[in-house]
């Protein structure tokens, strides 16, 4: 085994960074699709329709109990089978698709709880006040409740985003070449000689991305916190 080679870390970072779009694309796609799905789940949970509420709660409970790496393989092997039975062939579909589907399924459950608690955090009296001066329910929600809920949701949303990004590192297990996937390829290229250096480089990249996410949403929260008494930013 070669001695530890710290400069190698810096050498491979540019190569890893070229795969950053894959990692970030996976996160963005998941936030988009999982976020939308999570929004509907949250809606079902706060509305008083017993059947949809129960379904949303069961969904959240079940998916939250499945480790993401297990879910990843269930989707990777299960989804093509399922779709084949209705005549859709999944051969040749990019692995990124399965990754986004998997993490959307899981992320929706987490983010629906973030949305739900943010919605409930806004005193319903403000909604009543809004309709009492003649606003419709939709206007009261969009103009009064939602803007305040968003501010409340930001810290938890930031956490969920960071968790998602880190769990996304598991995507290489089904063959996605993101920064971790490429890191593994580099390890292979040197027959495992630089394993520690590669993982340290990956750790540094995740560290930088996490700090950037935190700083960014901390600033957003500060900007949106008009009229809030105390400011509690994550960063």
């Amino acid at each position: 085994m070669r001695p530890f080679h710290p400069l190698f870390i810096l050498e491979i970072i540019p190569e890893l960074v070229t795969y950053l779009p894959v990692t970030l694309g996976m996160v963005l796609g998941t936030v988009l699709f999982g976020g939308m799905w999570g929004f509907f789940l949250a809606l079902a949970k706060v509305r008083r329709r017993p059947v949809t509420k129960a379904l949303a709660e069961i969904y959240t409970y079940v998916t939250r109990c499945v480790p993401s790496v297990v879910m990843l393989f269930v989707v990777f092997y299960g989804l093509p089978e399922l779709l084949l039975s209705v005549g859709i062939n999944m051969n040749g579909v990019d692995n990124g698709f399965f990754v986004i589907v998997t993490f959307s399924i899981l992320y929706a459950a987490n983010i629906s709880e973030v949305f739900r608690s943010a919605y409930l955090a806004i005193d319903k009296g403000q909604r009543e006040a809004a309709v009492s001066v003649g606003l419709t329910e939709a206007q009261a929600f969009l103009r009064i409740v939602l803007p305040q809920s968003i501010v409340v949701a930001i810290p938890n949303f930031t956490n969920s985003l960071i968790n998602l990004m880190k769990e996304g590192a598991l995507a290489y297990t089904i063959g996605l070449i993101d920064i971790v996937g490429q890191g593994n390829r580099i390890i292979g290229r040197y027959q495992g000689s630089y394993t520690l250096e590669v993982y340290l480089a990956l750790a540094a990249l995740y560290w930088i991305m996490t700090i950037m996410i935190q700083k960014f949403f901390g600033a957003v929260e500060k900007k949106l916190s008009r009229g809030k008494k105390e400011l509690t930013t994550a960063a």
Binding site: Q126, A129, A130, S132, V133, G134, L135, R143, G227
Partner: protein
């Protein structure tokens, strides 16, 4: 102008309103008195559909509707004729005092922005907050917040303002400033229905006092009748007890 007949409301197994009738004429200041749990607040909230009554009908000018199955449009129409002042103010926390008052004008009534601003400033001036336009609710005292709440209600020029214990969350020093504003409104002829425990307000400002208990109206009449010669034993008992504890002059 406004008449509600035979209103019933049950929460779970608890029957809160058991057939209340109430009639409000233009310019009336109706004060509803009664012990906690007598259904005063629920009655008020049923008038502008913050609660849905189980039974009863409502006549408001030309509108006639059953309370139970009023359509969304009718509800919105009635809400535009009324305004509500809440016990805990319920100001929009993400908006300034001025924006709080303008919201009902610009959004619900489509009043142009500049015009709405003029009306809103007038309303805030009237409640003595000319120097607080740009303040957020979190930067105002309770009494100031409640006065913004009143300005928000006044600005939309409703036909009746419903006050739900507007001073109950305030300390004694701040109660006076809110009652003064309400007294001034009454003097200007604003129609008001007020649920309160402020006996002096009921006595001095109301032209009709309604005493409720256990979900029914026990007695109603002029303040003089109610305070000086109540017909019902229960009314005099209640007034006797409460008068010793609460006495603020305005």
């Amino acid at each position: 102008m406004l008449e509600i007949r035979n209103i019933h409301k049950t929460f779970g197994g608890n029957q809160v309103l058991k057939g209340v009738n109430i009639k409000v004429e233009k310019g009336d200041v109706v004060v509803i008195l009664g012990p906690s749990g007598s259904g005063k607040t629920t009655l008020l909230r049923c008038i502008n559909f913050l609660e849905r009554a189980d039974e009863g009908s409502l006549d408001f000018d030309e509108i006639h509707t059953e309370l139970k199955n009023a359509s969304r449009r009718t509800v919105n129409k009635i809400r535009k004729k009324t305004a509500f002042v809440f016990q805990n103010y319920n100001l929009f926390q993400n908006k300034t005092a001025l924006q709080n008052v303008m919201e009902g004008l610009t959004v619900a009534r489509k009043v142009p922005r500049e015009e709405a601003e003029v009306i809103a400033k007038e309303a805030l001036d009237k409640v003595g907050l000319a120097d607080r336009y740009g303040y957020y609710p979190s930067q105002l005292s309770g009494g100031q917040q409640q006065r913004v709440g009143i300005a928000r209600a006044v600005a939309v020029r409703p036909e009746v303002i419903l006050f739900d214990e507007p001073t109950s969350a305030l300390d004694p020093e701040l109660i006076g400033e809110v009652l003064c504003v309400m007294k001034e409104l009454a003097r200007e002829g604003v129609t008001m229905v007020v649920v309160t425990h402020e006996m002096s307000f009921a006595h001095d400002v109301a032209n009709r006092v309604v005493f409720m208990e256990g979900g029914v109206v026990v007695e109603e009449g002029t303040p003089r009748q109610i305070f000086q010669s109540p017909r019902e034993e229960r009314t005099s008992q209640f007034l006797h007890r409460i008068n010793r504890d609460y006495d603020y002059s305005i």
